[in-house]
């Protein structure tokens, strides 16, 4: 199949003018890479996983919302917020089924990892990359084409499942989104795509710098585990080391700084950035993402933020995720361009 890719690339080059080589080779590689992914068994497995996730989360959301409404009707003390019901389709889970938001936060990184972990090194090992670079195409078209093809698939997957959740939720509950809700869901899906693309870029980075696909797969999973689990532990340990809160006095003095340092260290993790941004976007009642003192809460009225204000809260997260993704891709790009491929 990689022969075919090279063949089509060379065909494109033969047909096109010399000046258009770059774009021709890139689009040919992009299309071929996409076709390879879509027909691979690996992609079908991911797709089944994502579809199952979507169905489960819709079921969970519908049962969760209806039981919440029932509880509110039976028990006057149980409060049920009827605002932004459409967003609840994404954020509410059933009794044992997590919500769409938490399931995608869990599975999303794996989609990126699986699509990217062997993109370069397996071709290198099979010797197909060697033949590919011997074609009259720019070498960077290869890595750019691979990244763009995988990102496109991720975008298609996330957008289609996200819209499917909305439609299925509407069919089951009759909740129509308001304009603001639709825009919030759309922006949330864009954040999700960006987050998964970060993991795609990380997986490609490892596949550029490691020789074996298994190594890069393990390395990327280890990184994911570190950010998802160990980063928060590490942040807690470091915060306690700088601002100890062991005694009551230390707590009184350091609690605020301790929390802030912990939070800022956590924010180095894309995992935390994404979860913070998605919770702000999908819950308009979230008014602050930093530590809030009691003094700040005096006289505050419970209410919802406008979409624009919510976006102003999470724009650093967008920039951060984008910067991390670009950084990972740029390093893998430079690494790929400087590698000696023909001799390997």
């Amino acid at each position: 199949m990689l022969k075919a890719a090279a063949g089509s690339a060379s065909l494109a080059v033969n047909e096109g003018k010399r000046g258009n080589i770059g774009s021709h080779s890139l689009s040919a590689l992009y299309r071929k890479e996409m076709a390879d992914h879509v027909t691979s068994k690996r992609f079908i497995i991911i797709m089944i996983l994502v579809i199952a996730t979507t169905i489960a989360s819709v079921y969970g959301a519908v049962t969760g919302i209806s039981s919440a409404i029932k509880n509110a009707a039976m028990d006057p003390k149980a409060s049920f917020d009827a605002h932004f019901m459409f967003l609840k389709l994404f954020t509410t889970g059933g009794s044992s089924i997590p919500s769409y938001m938490s399931l995608i936060a869990l599975i999303g990184p794996f989609i990126g990892l699986i699509l990217g972990f062997d993109s370069i090194n397996s071709e290198k090992n099979n010797g197909t990359l060697n033949r590919l670079v011997s074609q009259p195409i720019y070498r960077d078209s290869i890595i750019i084409g691979k990244f763009l093809a995988s990102s496109t698939l991720i975008a298609v997957m996330i957008l289609s499942t996200g819209i499917a959740v909305g439609c299925a939720g509407f069919l089951a509950t009759g909740i129509l989104p308001s304009g603001e809700e639709a825009v919030r869901v759309l922006i949330y899906l864009v954040y999700t795509i960006l987050y998964i693309c970060f993991w795609l870029a990380m997986a490609m980075l490892f596949s550029v710098f490691t020789r074996h696909a298994a190594t890069s797969a393990l390395a990327s999973i280890a990184l994911w585990l570190f950010f998802a689990i160990f980063m928060s532990l590490l942040a807690g340990i470091m915060a306690n080391a700088v601002y100890p809160v062991n005694t009551e006095y230390q707590q009184a003095v350091n609690a605020f700084e301790n929390y802030n340092l912990n939070l800022n260290l956590n924010r180095l993790s894309p995992y935390y950035l994404y979860s913070e941004a998605s919770s702000v976007l999908m819950d308009p009642a979230t008014r602050a993402i930093n530590a809030v003192s009691y003094a700040q809460l005096v006289g505050a009225l419970s209410g919802y933020l406008q979409l624009g204000q919510s976006l102003l809260l999470v724009w650093p997260h967008l920039v951060g995720l984008l910067a991390l993704t670009f950084a990972a891709f740029t390093i893998s790009y430079i690494g790929f361009m400087r590698q000696e491929i023909r001799t390997s």
Binding site: A295, L301, G303, G308, Q309, W315, L318
Partner: protein, 418 residues
């Protein structure tokens, strides 16, 4: 004529004269004698006394006393004992200079009247003579002769009118109320139960009005037997009419005492009833915004102006109103004037509040309660202040993202195309 009558129907005449005396002088006869006499008379007249009878011209009270400028009305009766019908013309003699007199029948002034056969007092046409003395009439007794002349008839009636400036009627008309002074806050509908008594000998119609009511006030008169307000009320002679007088002050009336004079005027009387409406003071204050919009958008750490309108809703001027604001920690709320010296009743003043949210205020809504108060009145205005972020930060985000894209493009240009 008299002789002839005596000869022909001497007995009947005697009885008839007795009956007349009974009617005019109201002498009490025994029941049986009267009934007997009545029957006798009718039979006698109908059977025997055909031809000219006696025509008598009479009134109930031929002697009256009036004030100079006063009027008196005499109800006249003409009776006829004969079978002849006749038409007589009416005239008055002995009317002093300046006096005015007129015969009235039904509703017109009349000069002639028709007399039917065997006309009795009950059948007499409604005829009256009204007499008006001039203002400068001198004290004394005046004799006026009323004459009914025509055909064979020539009847006279002597009226004895005494003019006395000090004349007091047996009973003067009265217009009274038990509670002439009432008080209440503005917006109260005051109700006076009055009694109008007609002590004159005649039925009177009084026209009712109120004087001294300020503009915008409403005074209505409602007799107890009428459903609706009226401006005149008829009262029978000797009767009393209960009239409810409702006084509705204007909405924006200021506190104080308002004397009113209720008047009831009829032909001979001008009755006055002074009443006092006392409006007690009420204090009221309302703090709001001129537009009614109670939400304010502000940025953390930056001053935002909000215009408030403080209205005096009471009817007493409010002085020395102080303005205070209750807001979250580290917020600053100042006013362009901390104290309003004076707001007249019913008016409002605008005040600008400078609201500065704390620098670390979180996004979203805060409550700021502005209180305007003095010793007697106080009012709150709850403002909802939405703390926002500057949209400028969104531009910063876009700039950084564009820089990142250019950075990536630079890397590709530098290392690519090998």
């Amino acid at each position: 004529m008299k002789k002839t009558a005596r000869i022909i129907a001497g007995k009947g005449i005697l009885y008839a004269c007795g009956l007349l005396a009974a009617g005019v002088l109201a002498v009490t006869l025994t029941m049986s004698a009267q009934v007997f006499a009545d029957e006798e008379k009718k039979e006698t007249i109908k059977e025997v006394a055909a031809g000219p009878g006696k025509v008598t011209f009479s009134t109930d009270y031929p002697g009256v006393t009036i004030k100079p400028g006063g009027t008196s009305t005499f109800s006249l009766y003409i009776t006829n004992t004969g079978s002849d019908e006749s038409t007589v013309s009416l005239s008055a003699e002995g009317l002093p200079d300046g006096w005015e007199g007129a015969f009235k029948g039904s509703s017109n002034e009349v000069s002639m009247v028709h007399i039917g056969s065997y006309q009795e007092k009950e059948d007499s046409p409604s005829l009256s003579y009204s007499l008006a003395a001039p203002e400068d009439a001198k004290e004394g007794e005046y004799k006026i002769t009323l004459k009914a002349k025509g055909g064979k008839t020539d009847a006279e009636l002597l009226l004895n009118v005494k003019v006395d400036p000090e004349e007091k009627k047996i009973g003067v008309d009265t217009f009274t109320t038990d509670y002439a002074q009432q008080e209440g806050p503005s917006g109260t509908r005051f109700s006076y139960s009055t009694k109008l008594t007609n002590n004159s000998g005649e039925n009177q119609t009084y026209s009712l009005s109120a004087e001294g009511a300020p503009e915008g006030w409403n005074v209505t008169f409602t007799p107890s037997d009428a459903g609706n307000a009226t401006s005149s009320v008829p009262v029978d002679a000797g009767a009393t009419s209960s009239i409810t007088v409702a006084v509705t002050p204007s909405q924006n009336v200021t506190a104080g005492e308002y004397p009113l004079t209720l008047t009831a005027n009829c032909a001979g009387e001008n009755l006055e009833l002074p009443v006092i409406v006392k409006i007690t003071g009420s204090y009221g204050l309302a703090a709001a915004t001129p537009t009614g919009n109670l939400s304010v958008k502000a940025f953390a750490g930056e001053t935002q102006d909000a215009i408030l309108s403080i209205q005096n809703t009471g009817n007493i001027d409010l002085t020395n109103l102080s303005l205070k604001a209750q807001a979250s920690t580290d917020w600053k709320v100042t006013f362009d004037q901390d104290e309003i010296s004076d707001i007249p009743a019913g008016e409002s003043k605008e005040v600008t509040a400078h609201i500065t949210p704390a620098k670390d205020a979180i996004l979203g809504d805060y409550a700021v309660i502005v209180t305007a108060s003095n010793d007697v009145a106080s009012s709150n205005c709850d403002l909802r202040v939405s703390v926002q972020n500057h949209t400028g930060w969104g531009v910063v985000a876009i700039v950084i993202i564009v820089a990142l894209v250019f950075g990536l493009g630079y890397v590709i240009r530098k290392f690519g195309r090998r």
